[in-house]
Symmetry: C2
Subunit: 212 residues, 2 copies
């Protein structure tokens, strides 16, 4: 008889000491990879919301949100959103009450970069910082451009549009509220996230329950 280890999502999301030396990494719950609203219904409900309840997402919702956004959907490591020349040059920084993390899609893990709540820097409009989750889409310009400096910001932006639309559709399917915006306090947030000069915050996107 096999022994089965029962772990609740809450326990799975409890921080485990990470190997990065940066702090406490979080092993995410397994994402849900099937189901949800029929695609065309999700498209019919796709909308930007600007008022959020502060209620947290469940562990499963958070891991599924990230998988939907830019998770690995094939054995060869390819992703739910395309990227120019498959460079996968976008990182999702996840700003939560407990800190800021980078989503490691291959390990289904959040790698902690900061133990502080910096959600207030993820938006210049206060409505958006009340959300329990703020995603900051960060382009790694060193991976882009094929030697063409000029095309790098364009590629960075189109890559992020793909990912951000996945977030919109997952939220439409799940009854969550979301809104993306270019208005991010880049000068303040970049250093707190320990970004290198060739990392560019393209957009931020709030995710939460709609305000009742």
């Amino acid at each position: 008889m096999k022994r089965v280890l029962h772990i609740t999502p809450l326990l799975l999301l409890s921080a485990i000491l990470g190997g990065s030396g940066l702090g406490q990494d979080v092993q995410l719950t397994a994402p849900t990879k099937s189901g949800g609203l029929p695609l065309l219904d999700a498209l019919a409900k796709r909308a930007t919301t600007r008022a959020f309840d502060s209620k947290d997402l469940s562990d499963r919702q958070l891991s599924t949100l990230l998988w939907a956004a830019f998770g690995v959907n094939r054995p060869d490591g390819k992703r739910t959103a395309p990227s120019a020349n498959n460079k996968q040059a976008t990182d999702i920084y996840v700003l939560l009450k407990t800190g800021a993390y980078v989503y490691d899609a291959h390990a289904n893990k959040l790698v902690q970069v900061l133990a502080d709540d910096v959600r207030s820097l993820g938006a210049t409009q206060t409505f958006a910082t009340n959300a329990p989750v703020i995603l900051a889409f960060v382009a790694d310009l060193s991976k882009l451009g094929n030697g063409n400096e000029e095309s790098k910001p364009n590629t960075a932006n189109v890559n992020v549009g793909y990912i951000s639309q996945n977030v919109y559709l997952y939220c439409a399917s799940e009854g969550l509220a979301t809104g993306a915006r270019g208005s991010v306090d880049r000068k303040a947030l970049g250093p707190r996230l320990k970004l290198r000069p060739d990392q560019l915050i393209v957009l931020a996107q709030s995710v939460g329950y709609p305000k009742p």
Copy 2:
């Protein structure tokens, strides 16, 4: 008793003389706005394909593809993909065997700009021009930027990423093949589509049945 006019999709797609003076516009069949694969299953199947069969899409598939991409999904005229400041500054040019058209989402119509088949200009890689439908996503820079010239190309690109991901997911749901690319012969295609200097071809995306 109400008289019901029965019109087959084929008849609906037959060209009607347009009011634009540019040629024959096409009133599209009503798109399907519900159903399809569950969202997470569509995300699991999202992929780029590079080999297409030349078989045409059905009229309903073409209109649903365009609605999914950037159709009107709310009574106030908002769309299935967000756009910076709701400027809706992206036009979808649709390259078919019968000609090139602009998608009018509000009228669910294709407005003809050219009666020639210019699909071969929609890709610099020949694999992609075999597809029955090539979408060219064109930014109207005159509607963008809020006075900030520098941010216009960034905004144009992120806007197109949103729309292109909708196309990827519709194709995943419908069993169609699709691939987007930046490699478009802009110098040749722009004048054929009668683009103004402030219109920018951001990406092109082929759509068709997968090669058997």
